[in-house]
């Protein structure tokens, strides 16, 4: 069963690899964000060596990693929404795979090449403008960055399934995006938050899409890595289960309406 979805994953991956040069051009915007924040952090840090245990170098690399996850993901809910609206979803019902897992694997496969190009550009920029990270564990970073995209895609699967009940689900995506931006610590590490917000944000599902992958990448410890991986696994399973439950209900509704 795993082989089926890993094949879908690798097909999407190969498909998207063709577009890597195009991503490189589009990533100019990513460089601009890093440039603005490198200036902003420099001013905010001022004469201080660290803020909440992170150096200026780590703060800039942190943003490069959160943006890699955020800009690297593919908006799978768009396709689900279209298929539900047009009724073409009905054609997938008799195929020998789970529609949700198919979309999830496809989304993961399509996100990898974009993430690779973003990680490359982000690392290059951060290295030139902030210097190297004091310690970096590439294997752990790869796992949690993929986990971060996995969490965001699981959210997007859930948003896509909501199309059975809502004509336009994009506003749900906007809401999710803002929650990841702020509560998830995409621009500012959660350690910098005022205490009341920090306790609310640290173990929220949104933090496992942005804060945890980035903090493990810039300030590795085995405890942090285990927390990040466990949290990501938990939330991915939870969100996929809720999506599956809703999907089953939605499909029944689709059948009643005649597809």
């Amino acid at each position: 069963m795993i082989r089926k979805y890993s094949t879908i994953f690798s097909f999407s991956l190969k498909n998207q690899m063709v577009y890597v040069p195009a991503f490189m051009f589009r990533n100019v915007f990513f460089i601009l964000v890093l440039f603005v924040f490198s200036n902003l952090w420099r001013v905010v840090y001022g004469a201080r060596d660290t803020i909440a245990g992170l150096t200026l170098t780590q703060a800039l690399w942190y943003l490069a990693f959160t943006e890699t996850v955020e800009l690297g993901k593919v908006r799978i809910f768009d396709e689900i929404q279209t298929e539900v609206k047009e009724g073409t979803l009905a054609y997938t019902l008799n195929r020998p795979y789970s529609y949700l897992l198919f979309m999830y694997a496809k989304g993961l496969g399509s996100s990898v090449p974009q993430m690779l190009s973003l990680a490359l550009i982000g690392s290059l920029f951060s290295f030139v403008f902030a210097g190297p990270l004091p310690y970096f564990n590439p294997a752990a970073a790869a796992v949690v960055l993929m986990g971060g995209v996995g969490c965001t895609l699981a959210w997007m699967l859930l948003i896509g399934v909501l199309s059975f009940w809502f004509e336009e689900v994009t506003p749900f995506y906007w809401l999710l995006q803002k929650l990841i931006f702020i509560i998830g610590g995409m621009f500012i590490p959660i350690d910098f938050f005022p205490p009341w917000l920090e306790s609310l944000a640290r173990y929220s599902p949104f933090a496992f899409s942005a804060y945890w992958p980035a903090i493990v990448s810039v300030d590795y410890s085995s405890m942090r890595f285990l927390t990040a991986a466990a949290g990501q696994g938990f939330y991915i399973l939870l969100l996929l289960s809720i999506s599956a439950l809703l999907y089953r209900r939605g499909i029944r509704q689709l059948s009643v309406q005649g597809g």
Binding site: V28, L32, N39, V43, E168, P171, F181, I188, F192
Partner: protein
């Protein structure tokens, strides 16, 4: 006067069309306002770490930027919505429709479309201004003036960037990216940028004239600087219009048959 009436007529018609889909209209406009609101929290956290000032910008100054930018941007896409699609109009030969009508080409083309989410941006800009700024007559007057100037410059810039499509084929991606870049730059305190990069922000990505100097003028008013800024704004818009008309000489009709209701 006739031109203003043309823009108002387009606005009325486009708004009536948008109101036919009330639910979508409201969700888009409210969504955009919520979208912008999230960033207030971002700045609260940033100032929590930075103290009362970021390189001369207080929290209130940054909120002024966040009021000015959505209002200026909103005006530019609500009243002149086609300004974001100029490249497409050029490469798909759709300019023919506007060239044949007895109205000034640029204004007619730009004003014929409306982007509904822009209304949410406009409302957000005004509400944030009312909520965070001291309401003196001068400040309100400058806010309105700078918002209109920003809208004009953003439209002028889009004309400028998209006109490259006349010369180099489809420049849509470049134009969108350049316009997005300016929008991103105007949301941060201008004083954090130092060195030669500021020349870029005065010319190709002129955030200095539409955001950074307006904040300086709000902090301490200087009539001469106001005139210099407005002069620079007029220059940018003129450059955009001139490049568009010079590119128009290279325009090839799409032989498209189209009807505009």
């Amino acid at each position: 006067m006739k031109l203003i009436r043309l823009v108002c007529d387009y606005f009325r018609i486009n708004l009536a069309a948008a109101m036919e889909y009330r639910a979508a209209f409201l969700s888009q406009a409210i969504g955009m306002a919520v979208n912008n609101s999230a960033f207030i929290l971002f700045w609260i956290i940033m100032y929590h770490q930075a103290g009362p000032s970021i390189e001369g910008y207080s929290f209130r100054d940054v909120m002024f930027l966040w009021s000015l930018a959505p209002l200026g941007f909103g005006i530019s896409i609500v009243f002149f919505g086609n300004s974001v699609s100029i490249s497409k109009l050029i490469y798909s030969g759709e300019l023919d429709v506007y060239m044949l009508q007895p109205k000034p080409l640029v204004l007619n083309m730009l004003a014929s479309k409306m982007y509904v989410p822009g209304l949410g941006d406009m409302a957000y800009g005004v509400i944030l201004f009312l909520a965070t700024q001291p309401l003196t007559l001068t400040r309100i007057g400058l806010f309105v003036l700078f918002s209109l100037a920003m809208a004009a410059v953003l439209i002028g810039l889009r004309l400028f960037y998209h006109s490259f499509t006349f010369f180099f084929g489809n420049a849509e991606e470049f134009a969108s990216m350049a316009a997005e870049s300016v929008l991103s730059l105007i949301l941060y305190p201008g004083t954090i940028f130092k060195g030669p990069v500021l020349w870029l922000f005065r010319t190709l990505f002129p955030a200095v004239w539409i955001a950074y100097i307006p904040v300086r003028l709000i902090q301490s008013f200087d009539l001469a600087l106001l005139f210099i800024t407005l002069g620079a704004d007029i220059l940018i818009v003129t450059a955009g219009v001139m490049l568009f008309y010079s590119g128009l000489k290279h325009y090839e009709s799409g032989n498209r048959i189209g009807a505009r209701m």
